[in-house]
């Protein structure tokens, strides 16, 4: 009898306990894992660090961010293989903006309009992104109202310069005597530079080993300028496009589909002149420029090793130049905007090809993951985190953040950030992007290595694009 009573009491206690834990009490937190594929470099490392140190999900769930850091040279190949193989490994992917069309059409990247509409706070933050960045990083078709991505690390081209060389009194005097123009020394003076001034810097600072450079014999051959001129990925297109836009030319404009043509536009006289100008700079660059392998990493290396006076490169590579452990010029730096072209009204035209990357959601991400992903993106784009990111060497595309007076003090190049944004355009977002890019890179390489002139190069590109895009129904 006694035994039965004890059993009943135990069952009652067990029931009460289970009610306390599972029913009447608070529910247990779910574990949600977000998997992300990112290029391995400081902006993504910083994001992961901030997440691990600071992110507290509002839902109370245990949210884990699993990040695959993939080296830049393999990044596209790995991401492309992951997506097209159907392994469905990642919820988030840091994507170059140009990949949007190819992966949206393939059914891999998720449209986020519904998520924005469902959350006014989220939409408000999203719409505070600079329009150039929003169009480049999020829209497909380009400049449409279909949104896909959020800025992870926005980027633009800027001019890196060595003030110990360009501000030297003797060099200043000699430059003025030769070109009847002041050698740019401050950030503002660099901002005012045109490509002709940039070319003059290149010509002026070409010194042989042992010749005088800023009051001392040069330790090695020295060169005035460097810009990307490599065959790999987009390492000449990104520079040439800017010059073409600045000089009144255009690339094939996907916002004019189906009427926009490639023939006659891509190889217009203005575009040919722009490419000729670009090619004319090569002779003032380090000799590797003639091999077609001078990509952004090589120009960065040459600049950090003290071989050139000025280098046009992405902000994303700037952090290394400030690090005295890997930069011989870390304490000699001044930054300005990328050179421009003087327009008919006498003002500088500064069109440039945008850099940086958005991150996008994949279509197989579950509702639970999407809920947490949206919270994560809102946290990432929040003012506090964006300020911290900028202070750690990143950039922010949120107007309220980069307009803050504090922003320019975070890094020496930040002064150029806001004025550059209005001048950013993007290259094609269409699914044929990779074919367009590789053929264009091949043709630019032939011009860079001296195998054909600018006219032939652009004629070949225009013919190819006209044919490809007509077959795809994008030109009629």
């Amino acid at each position: 009898m006694m035994t039965t009573k004890i059993k009943v009491a135990m069952v009652a206690a067990g029931l009460a306990a289970s009610l306390m834990i599972g029913g009447a009490g608070p529910s247990l937190a779910d574990e949600v894992t977000l998997r992300m594929a990112v290029p391995d470099w400081p902006p993504t490392r910083i994001m992961k660090k901030f997440f691990d140190e600071q992110y507290k999900p509002k839902s109370g769930n245990a949210v884990k961010l699993e990040v695959d850091f993939i080296p830049w040279p393999d990044f596209y190949t790995r991401v492309n293989a992951s997506l097209t193989s159907g392994e469905r490994k990642y919820n988030f992917i840091v994507s170059d903006s140009q990949w949007l069309g190819a992966f949206v059409e393939g059914g891999y990247f998720r449209k986020v309009n519904d998520l924005l509409e469902a959350d006014p706070e989220f939409k408000k933050t999203f719409m505070d992104i600079h329009p150039s960045l929003l169009n480049a990083y999020s829209t497909y078709p380009y400049k449409s109202q279909n949104y896909y991505g959020f800025p992870q690390f926005p980027d633009v081209l800027v001019t890196y310069a060595r003030k110990d060389v360009i501000c030297d009194e003797t060099e200043q005097k000699n430059f003025l005597a030769k070109y009847k123009k002041k050698l740019p020394c401050t950030g503002e003076e660099i901002d005012a530079m045109t490509w002709d001034d940039f070319r003059n810097v290149g010509e002026f600072f070409r010194r042989r080993k042992g010749e005088m450079l800023a009051g001392k014999p040069a330790e090695d051959d020295f060169y005035g300028i460097a810009v990307q001129a490599g065959k790999g990925y987009d390492f000449s297109s990104m520079q040439v496009n800017g010059l073409i836009w600045q000089m009144g030319g255009d690339i094939w404009d996907e916002t004019k589909v189906p009427k926009g043509q490639a023939q006659g536009v891509v190889n217009s006289p203005a575009a040919v002149k722009a490419l000729e100008k670009y090619l004319s700079l090569l002779e003032y660059m380090p000799p590797v420029a003639k091999t077609g392998t001078m990509d952004i990493f090589k120009t960065d290396e040459l600049f950090r090793e003290g071989k050139v006076a000025m280098n046009v490169n992405w902000i994303g590579l700037g952090e290394a130049s400030l690090d005295p452990k890997i930069s011989r010029v870390s304490d000699k730096l001044v930054f300005g905007m990328m050179p421009g072209t003087t327009g008919p009204d006498g003002k500088i035209v500064r069109w440039s090809n945008i850099g940086g990357q958005p991150f996008v959601l994949t279509t197989w991400t579950t509702d639970a993951q999407i809920k947490e992903a949206v919270e994560f993106v809102k946290w990432w784009l929040s003012s506090g985190i964006q300020h911290q990111f900028a202070a750690a060497g990143g950039q922010s595309g949120i107007k309220s953040v980069y307009s803050d007076p504090k922003y320019v003090a975070y890094r020496p190049w930040n002064r150029t950030w806001a004025p550059s944004l209005d001048w950013q355009k993007d290259v094609w977002h269409v699914p044929q992007f990779f074919e367009l890019l590789t053929q264009q890179q091949d043709q630019f390489d032939r011009a860079i290595t001296g195998k054909q002139n600018a006219k032939t190069t652009l004629d070949n590109i225009a013919k190819f694009q006209q044919n490809l895009l007509s077959e795809a129904g994008l030109i009629k």
Partner: protein, 358 residues
Amino acid sequence: MLVLPPVSVPSLRTSPTLLEISADNWRLASLVGVVVSALAVAALPADVAFWIVGALVALVAVAFVVNAYRRRYYGGLLVAPAIAVLFAMNIFPLLWSLGLSFFAYQSNRQSIWFVGLNNYIKVLTNDIAAADNWHALINTGMFVVLTVSAQMIVGFMLAMLFAKQFPLRKYLLILVLTPMMLSVVASGVFFTYYYDPTFGILSYAINSIAGGQFILMDSKAGAVAGIVFADAWMWSPFVMLLVLAGLVSVPKYLYEAAAIDRVSAWRRFWTITFPYIRGLLMLALLFRTIEAFKLADLVILLTKGGNDTMTISYHLIRIANEQNKTSEGAAISYIMLFMVIVLTNLYLYLANRRTRES
């Protein structure tokens, strides 16, 4: 007269008729497999059809195995696992990609449709696509001739050197073999810096002697020379190893007899040494030619195909992997495969003819 007692042989089962349902009826299994697979491919979504076809292949395989077991084809059973692996890892992907080459399919799109020989016609005759393919193929031919020649000559000479005994031979041999053991990426990065006109030792050394600015990779000839040198540096030791194996197998008494007969060094080499290494030389030639035909890694690392050094393999990587034009890539692959098979058979024919003649 010896009379052998009768041996009782267990009776073997007779083969089932075509429509008899039996675990060993491989004919029926094959028929069902083909018909149901065709219907599944035609009527069902690709991802469902894939698994149905896979299950039917397994069914046919089981029928073959049961048939072999019941009829005591033990030899067949023993090689069955190897054939299964070969089928799963080689033959099936090969047939699958052959099939893809007759469709319009891009791996980053969800659509696929039959286009017959259009992909082959495009890669061979289209005025834009074919020009690039032929150009890359001609470059590949050039690299095959140059890299294989360089490797054969250097490898052969190294083998002749190391066939002799000399001080520190053992250590030098290890040193010479090292490049072959390095990863191609490591070697590529090494040569990138070696040839770099600003940081590289090659330009530095030549500039110090000749003055001026030496840039190896600024012309097609220089870029090709750079790639050929790097490839020969990596793979000449492989040729050396094979030739060395032939050289050490030559019986000493033949040389002793030749010495007694005062045979000249050239005749000694041609009549004694060469017959022993000829087969291995042909083997080295075959292996290295096939590999050279696939040359892409060093080109990617050193020039990215720039300066007119694009090879067909790198071109194929770009078409199939970067641009996701899977079917077009498959068509190029099969044209390459055809060429390699023709080339290989030509080598084997020549090698066998010489063997028969000798």
